[in-house]
Amino acid sequence: MTIRMGFVIITSRCIDCDACMVACRSENDVPLGHTRNWVKSSGVQGQFPKVSERFQPGNCMHCDNPPCVKVCPTGASQKRPDGIVIVENKKCIGCKYCLTACPYDARFSNPETGKADKCTLCLHRLEQGLEPACVQTCLGKSRQAGDLNDPDSIVSKLIAQYPTRILLKNVGTGPNIYYIDEAVPEIPEGK
């Protein structure tokens, strides 16, 4: 089966330390004031004393049906055969059309390069056999990345074991970040 790269993010394991944002910034030279990934807070939920707050990390969802790729006028935005959505800087004119088309606001205009910028799933690290920087650094092991089509991958095992949800299903983008809200006591072994 073809490779389909994506993430599983376990919100119950996120403590909002923002280490993933720092790791991504230093790994990918993301300019200050912009970010390729984020941690969003649900705000305080419930009634005192039973209050909770959920943290939801995110980044580009490497969508199955990415509107950013569809609208790109130069072919700079592409979906690779392994599912990773990238921007080929040489072709990008910085029209920002893709920024407006992404319903997750996962892209920004890089002021240093003038190009659209976003999560690359740390392609350069994957090629060296390493995990993405945000995944490797994640203290709570909330972030997991891998091949969603490979049943032996950590991400597939998690998806098989726990209920998941995706964001903005109604928009039809087919995002490839699967969120697990339940407590996950142990991360399964896998690729």
Binding site: V71, T74, C92, G94, T100, A101, N110, G114
Partner: protein, 298 residues
């Protein structure tokens, strides 16, 4: 989302529509009005290249990598309105410059023989309406494709088309009235004003449909349209678009047609009504471009 596309894009969308509208006004006046409509046909032809050139200029300046813009013309991506739209606008602009030359007064036409030039005029007058419709509605398709609330309204390309023609007709009326040279005749202006009244009424209906459809779609869309009706953009919507951009010029043009305006007032009234139509058309682009970006799906 923070604003990604700002005023530059609004100017571009507006200017492209204005040029397309002025072009089609000129073409149709020439094809169906003949000699009697020489003046407005000429005014239309002579103004067309300018707004669109300005629009293209600000568009390129707004790019993150302006020197890379030629990449647009190394490919044709059929799924991207910006890609086919750029080609369309390129062709439209080149033809509009040729058309400009053909409509210049004879003494400026250094190359070509009169007979040939007249043939060229006829030919372009028949081709350009199609290109104009393409350019004007493409600006709506451009926003459609980014699938945001408001931007995804299926009638948006039609609204932009009608608004483009309305502003184009108004621009021709405005310049033809202001121009000290070859000032338009009453009959020409009368017909154009009639056309504009029809277009404004159509535009009102389209806006109404779009809003009703939006309010009855998903919650995200309903909230987004709420920002126009009673939210952040309400004053622009009700005052600048509905009031100054549609109702007031409609009323003035209606009175002009019924000859209710005293003679000494006709000149200022014609100028203000056509100016208001253009003004309103600008804010139609503005509000949709902005409100579509400040709303998102949930």
């Amino acid at each position: 989302m923070e604003l990604t596309w700002g005023l530059m894009i609004v100017i571009y969308l507006f200017a492209a529509g204005l040029s397309a509208g002025a072009m089609i006004t000129s073409n149709l006046s020439y094809l169906y009005g003949g000699q009697d409509f020489q003046r407005v046909s000429r005014v239309g032809a002579l103004i067309t290249p300018f707004p669109i050139s300005l629009g293209l200029g600000v568009l390129v300046l707004d790019l993150g990598s302006p020197f890379n813009f030629y990449q647009l013309f190394l490919t044709l991506e059929l799924s991207s309105p910006m890609s086919y739209g750029s080609w369309l606008i390129l062709i439209f602009s080149i033809f509009s410059i040729i058309n400009f030359y053909l409509w210049l007064p004879k003494k400026f036409q250094i190359v070509g023989q009169t007979l040939q030039l007249e043939k060229g005029k006829k030919l372009l007058a028949k081709i350009m309406p199609f290109l104009s419709v393409g350019v004007a509605s493409y600006t709506g398709l451009l926003l459609n494709a980014a699938v945001r609330p408001i931007w995804n309204a299926p009638l948006l390309p039609i609204l932009f088309l009608v608004s483009a023609f309305s502003t184009g007709v108004a621009a021709v009326i405005l310049i033809a009235t202001l121009s000290p040279w070859e000032r338009a005749r009453h009959k020409e202006l009368h017909v154009l004003t009639m056309a504009d009244v029809g277009l404004i009424i159509l535009e009102c209906l389209l806006i109404l449909f779009i809003i009703v459809m939006g309010r009855f779609s998903s919650d995200s869309e309903s909230v987004a349209f709420g920002s126009l009706l009673y939210g952040h953009y309400a004053w622009i919507f009700w005052l600048l678009i509905v009031g100054f951009g549609l109702m007031l010029p409609l009323l003035l043009e209606f009175m002009e047609l019924k000859n209710k305006i005293p003679v000494k007032w006709t000149w200022p009234v014609t100028i203000s009504s056509s100016f208001l139509v253009i003004f309103g058309g600008f804010f139609v682009r503005y509000i949709i471009t902005y409100a579509g970006q400040t709303s998102s799906w949930f």
